[in-house]
Symmetry: C2
Subunit: 402 residues, 2 copies
């Protein structure tokens, strides 16, 4: 029997229920600068399958078992080693929780710490997924102005003091300090030290989202906020999605045990997908390092292609970031340009997708004249074509008038 | 630098923050009747890897892409076909959301519908995972008395009326109507019709958790509550975990679109693990049906082994369920027995694990003289040994005195 849906759920929704999400698949452009896709050609598919086969032969029976709630222990050991080697973070595997991408650990942390009305401080433009989670928990999100080195420390301090003067609780600072999404900059050492100093002085912890740290094309790594702190005031999350494949959905977090245990209790489901964890573990222990070098090589060329195309097709009045790594270029059009209003039309007519800046605005409204362009998915030739079409569309729509 | 953890998160936890969960791995018994493990020997490992290899060869590039938020479309098509064929549920693939096991859809539904203090009606003893999620959202959970056919309709109606008389909102009825976990019974047609009639008369929707429906060893399927209703008052969840492997963590839900869209918005992360979805889809379309027959054959023998062993080793004063399917036997010891207090000792000395009934109690406290025994994991010989040891331990501890 088919449901005739004569019953309405409208009166039953929780006060905090999320706004309805559209069902069905959003249209993607051929020139898809809208999402965070790495290069499909570099996906290590054969290696992942081989890793899985190997792991199943050795441990297959364990697929039957609801694994350790924190996630497949050998992969947590791998993560612990990686954190120590790459980020000077020294924790045991039991201080790590594997999650469904990095978004699940972030959800767990927000759920654990945030009451409605609590203040969260973020970069003025920051990853939309986290903003949405924060909104679902009715946080009072306050964006802090940034320059090309990240949050302005004076502005951050003023924001903390302001919130407290209003009698509000500032629960944490959320930052993507390396190859920031969407703005592209990387906080240098001095800015990180300043942020950590503020966190310590005002007792406001930091949620450090390091999802892009491995995607470095030039320059040198900067120490993690976690390592610079050393007092337990930093909660750290990162992910394999950008360096293996988003479809794997494997991320992780580490934080002081006091926080970790409550976050773990807030985790829905049991262990993160063991099938994927097997494959990632075997692959990572053998080959991740050289794989990262390969993909970064590809990504560097794509970034350069996009920068060159922007230079060629957009003129005065338009500026953009020049990130040393990551997946995005953050483009600023003249003040009065409205990239929100023309987005669907550009997708329809030029087959070009982008994300308007408003999606990343902490205040939910700023950034109509900004767009985030991802160079991860298309080939350099497609990037060139797509940017040309995008510029033509912007010009046609009067976005570039001075 | 290592964290010296001089910072305390205690003052920052949200009012609703979950109680801390223990880190590290709980000890498992050799005779592990404590968790819901299917038989490890029947895991279709080679077939899963082959399915994955095939899918990757055909669609590997798509692993790069954050897939459809509702989950890999071909697998949703498969689920839609299965629901139509097996449960008389006729929905389109776009009416389905794939999740991280069935626990994620349940979490999404609870998050969407439940404000603190809202009443949820459940069987008096029911799946602990869902109870924990309900508690995290501070629901007022009220257990309804059951017999061997499920919730007593008069008691269910009285519970609805009572809650409303108190001025409370009854948000939904949660039921596991087939091979109920832990009690083992299956609601026959008349009881399902009575529950649906109450749902329609009082406008209280039902969350139907059908996770065990495929694990049938004898008897015939009973129509789903969803199919019996037809007015949109039933939200339906089920899972592949019990019929392929828990480590796959793939479940699904369907519900009227009004509810579905809000539940989707409450889903953390993007699409459920595509890697696993690929493998499950290829495997399921080819072989799931015959696989289920194979595993049910194995499970039937294990169930029979456990029933025989209970008969042999436990005497008067002890009763137990005789389920037609599923994974559990629900054992009742004399009233004064306290299976909670001896659980760790029995695990230590006899290497036997079980779950005391209190874990499943809607009221959180009842059921000290009950235990749930899973026959899914151990071999029939191990089951025989384990039950013998368990009975000996119970006798030694004075649990069986009249």
């Amino acid at each position: 029997m088919s449901a005739n849906n004569s019953f309405s759920y409208e009166q039953l929704f929780a006060r905090n229920a999320a706004e309805p999400a559209p069902l069905g698949m959003p249209r993607r452009g051929r020139y898809d600068f809208a999402v965070a896709y790495p290069d499909p050609e570099t996906l290590p598919l054969d290696e992942l399958v081989e890793g899985l086969r190997q792991a199943l032969a050795e441990e297959g029976r364990d697929l039957a078992i609801y694994h350790h709630r924190q996630g497949y222990p050998p992969l947590r050991e791998y993560v612990a080693n990686k954190l120590a080697r790459d980020r000077d973070i020294h924790v045991s595997p039991d201080d790590i929780i594997l999650g469904d991408g990095s978004s699940q650990p972030i959800h767990m942390i927000v759920e654990t710490l945030v009451d409605p009305g609590d203040v969260l401080l973020t970069e003025d433009f920051v990853y939309s997924g986290t903003l949405n989670t924060m909104r679902r928990f009715r946080a009072d999100i306050r964006g802090v102005p940034c320059d090309e080195q990240g949050m302005l420390p004076d502005a951050l301090e003023a924001a903390i003091r302001q919130a407290r003067a209003e009698g509000k609780r500032v629960k944490f600072i959320y930052t993507v300090p390396t190859f920031q999404n969407p703005q592209g900059w990387t906080m240098p050492l001095e800015r990180r030290q300043a942020m950590v100093e503020l966190a310590q002085r005002y007792d406001v912890p930091i949620l450090e989202d390091d999802c892009y740290v491995d995607l470095r094309y030039e320059g040198s790594d900067v120490p993690s906020l976690y390592a610079l702190d050393g007092t337990g005031r930093v909660m750290y999350v990162a992910s394999f999605s950008k360096i293996i494949a988003p479809g794997m959905r494997l991320g992780y977090m580490t934080a002081p045990r006091e926080l970790l245990q409550r976050a773990l209790a807030a985790k829905s489901g049991g262990a993160v997908n063991t099938f994927a964890a097997f494959a990632v573990h075997r692959f990572a222990t053998g080959q991740l390092h050289s794989h990262i070098e390969v993909i970064n090589d590809v990504q560097r060329r794509k970034r350069d292609a996009m920068l060159a195309a922007l230079e060629e097709h957009f003129g005065d009045g338009v500026t953009w970031s020049r990130p040393q790594g990551g997946l995005y270029i953050w483009v600023r059009l003249p003040e009065q340009a409205d990239l929100v209003s023309i987005r669907d039309r550009v997708l329809e007519t030029e087959d070009v997708g982008y994300v308007p800046g408003t999606a990343f605005a902490a205040d939910g409204v700023s950034g109509r004249n900004y767009m985030r362009l991802c160079f991860g998915y298309n080939t350099p030739e497609e990037i060139q074509e797509g940017i040309a079409r995008l510029a033509a569309a912007c010009r046609r729509e009067g976005m570039l008038a001075d």
